[in-house]
C-alpha cells in the first residue's frame, strides 16, 4: 500500500500540443511521465455502434475514420461511455516525433492519454493563445480570442486529470504487417514446442541408453570399465596370436621333408626358443633341411645350425 502511495507521489504529467508542451509538473523530463495529447494529435468521433463491448469496435474503426483522414497508418482506440462509444484515431509516428522534438525519452513515457477523456472542464486556457472548449461534448482546440475566459491549465491540479484508458504507442515501424508477424511467429513457436518435446523424448532415450551401456559388462560378468575390458581383450588377443604362431611353427617343423632324409630325435619348445635335432640319413641331406627352414619359416628365426655325427641340431628364436 505504501508502495502504491509513493508511486502516486512520483506520478508526473505532461500535456502536449502541436506547438510544444503546455503543461508539465516537473522541470526535468528524465522521470517516468504520463502524456496527455491535445486534439491536434488525434481524430475523434462519438458514435453508437451495434456492439456490446469496446474491443468489438476494432473492425468498424478504419471505415469510420476513412472519410476524416487519408493517413494510412493509423491506430485506433474505442472507449465505451454507457450506450455510446468514443472513438479515437491517431498516428503513432506523428506523436513519437512530437515527443522526440520535446526531448522526451519515449522509454520514460508510461502511457499516453487523449485530452477528450482527461479533462472534464468546459473551457481551459492553454497559455499559448489557444484554449480547449467543449462544444457539444467534443473537446476542441480554438484560438483563445474566440473562447470565453477559461481556467488556466497551470491552475488545474493534476489530481483532477482523468488518467484512464491510456494507450501505448507503437514505437517500431515494421515493413511487414503485425498480423503477418503474428502469423509467422505462431507456427515458429509451435515448431519450437515440437522440437522441445522431441528433444526431451530423445534426452530420456539417451539417458536409458547410457544406463544400458554401463550395464553391458556387468551382464557378461566382466569388470565395469571399458579400459579394464580393453586390456583383458588385448591380453586374450595376444595369447591367441602367440598360440596361433606357435602352432604354425610346430606345423612347419613337422611338415619338413623327413621321409628318407632323416627323422626327428628331439624337438623342444619353451617360451622363447626351440631346439630341433634331426638324425640325417646322409650327410648331404643337411642342405635339404636348411633350405626348407629358410623358405618355410615365417615365425621364429634360426639362431644356430650344427651338424655332428649325422645329427643336425637347429636352434630357433621364437
Amino acid at each position: 500500500m505504501f508502495q502504491w502511495l509513493s508511486k502516486q507521489k512520483d506520478h508526473h504529467v505532461v500535456v502536449l500540443d502541436k506547438g510544444g508542451i503546455v503543461y508539465k509538473d516537473i522541470v526535468s523530463l528524465d522521470k517516468k511521465i504520463d502524456v496527455v495529447l491535445l486534439p491536434s494529435f488525434y481524430w475523434f468521433v462519438e458514435k453508437k455502434l451495434p456492439i456490446r463491448f469496446a474491443f468489438q469496435a476494432k473492425e468498424y474503426l478504419p471505415s469510420i475514420f476513412e472519410s476524416l483522414t487519408t493517413s494510412a497508418k493509423l491506430s485506433y482506440l474505442a472507449i465505451q461511455k454507457e450506450d455510446i462509444f468514443w472513438l479515437f484515431a491517431y498516428d503513432d509516428q506523428d506523436i513519437l516525433k512530437a515527443l522526440e522534438k520535446e526531448n522526451i525519452n519515449i522509454s520514460n513515457v508510461k502511457k499516453v492519454y487523449f485530452a477528450q477523456n482527461v479533462f472534464n472542464d468546459v473551457a481551459i486556457d492553454l497559455d499559448n493563445n489557444y484554449s480547449l472548449i467543449n462544444i457539444n461534448g467534443i473537446l476542441t482546440r480554438i484560438p483563445s480570442t474566440l473562447a470565453a475566459n477559461g481556467k488556466k491549465i497551470s491552475q488545474i491540479s493534476k489530481n483532477n486529470f482523468n488518467l484512464t484508458k491510456g494507450i501505448s504507442l507503437k514505437r517500431y515501424k515494421s515493413f511487414i504487417g503485425e498480423s503477418f508477424l503474428y502469423k509467422l511467429i505462431i507456427p515458429i513457436i509451435l515448431i519450437i514446442l515440437l522440437y522441445v518435446v522431441d528433444t526431451a523424448q530423445l534426452l530420456y532415450v539417451n539417458k536409458n541408453l547410457l544406463q544400458q551401456k554401463n550395464e553391458i559388462f556387468s551382464k557378461y560378468n566382466l569388470p565395469n570399465t571399458t579400459f579394464q575390458n580393453k586390456s583383458i581383450l588385448m591380453q586374450l588377443k595376444n595369447t591367441y596370436k602367440i598360440q596361433k604362431n606357435l602352432r604354425n611353427f610346430i606345423e612347419t617343423i613337422m611338415s619338413a621333408p623327413y621321409g628318407t632324409h632323416g627323422f626327428i630325435t628331439l624337438f623342444k619348445i619353451n617360451q622363447k626358443s626351440s631346439v630341433l635335432s634331426i638324425k640325417l640319413a646322409k650327410a648331404s641331406d643337411v642342405n635339404i633341411f636348411k633350405n626348407y627352414f629358410k623358405q618355410k619359416l615365417t615365425i621364429g628365426n634360426i639362431k644356430s645350425i650344427v651338424v655332428r655325427n649325422s645329427i643336425l641340431t637347429v636352434e630357433f628364436n621364437l
Binding site: I106, S107, V109, K110, K111, V112, L169, K170, R171, Y172, S174, L181, L184, I185, I188, I189, I191, I192, Y195, V196, D198, T199, L202, L203, V205, N206, L209, L210, Q212, K213, I216, F217, K219, Y220, L222, T226, N229, K230, I232, L233, L236, K237, T239, Q243, L246, R247, I250, E251, M254, Y258, G262, F263, I264, T265, L266, F267, K268, I269, N270, Q271
Partner: protein, 135 residues
C-alpha cells in the same frame, strides 16, 4: 512504455528455434554415438567371452584333454605316464611316422595354451611327448 521491436522479437524467436534445433541435433548425434558405443562395447564383451571360453576355461580344457587321450589310446598302442589338465607325459611304443604326426597334430590343435613342448624319437616306432599347458 516498454515495447520490443517486433522484428527483434521475431529474431529472438528464430534464435530460440535455432537453439532448440541445434540442441536436438546434438542429442541426435549423442544418440547415434551412444548406440555405436553400446554396439562396440557389446562386441568387446562378446569377444572376451568367446576368447575366455577358448583359452581360459580349465574345465573345458580338461574335457578336451580327456577326449584326446581317449581318442588316441583307442587308436594307438602305447601308454600314458602322466596326464593332468595342465601337463601331459605320453609314451608310445609302437607308432609309425604318420601316426606320430597325427598324434602331435591332434594334440597341438586343441585350444590349449601350450607353454612348453618336448618331443623325442619320432621316427623309429616310438614317441615320447611332454607338453605343459597353461591352467
Amino acid at each position: 512504455m516498454k515495447q520490443f521491436n517486433p522484428l527483434l522479437v521475431l529474431a529472438f524467436i528464430v534464435l530460440v528455434l535455432l537453439f532448440v534445433v541445434s540442441l536436438k541435433y546434438h542429442e541426435e548425434t549423442r544418440h547415434s554415438a551412444l548406440i555405436e558405443q553400446s554396439q562396440k562395447l557389446e562386441k568387446i564383451a562378446q569377444k572376451i567371452v568367446t576368447l575366455k571360453k577358448t583359452w581360459q576355461n580349465s574345465s573345458f580344457q580338461e574335457k578336451k584333454i580327456q577326449n584326446f587321450l581317449k581318442n588316441i589310446s583307442a587308436k594307438h598302442i602305447g601308454f600314458t605316464k602322466h596326464a593332468s589338465y595342465d601337463f601331459l607325459d605320453l609314451d608310445f611304443n609302437k607308432t609309425t611316422p604318420s601316426a606320430s604326426k597325427y598324434i602331435l597334430n591332434t594334440l597341438i590343435n586343441q585350444n590349449t595354451r601350450i607353454l612348453a613342448l618336448d618331443v623325442n624319437k619320432i621316427n623309429n616306432s616310438s614317441l615320447s611327448i611332454k607338453i605343459r599347458i597353461a591352467k
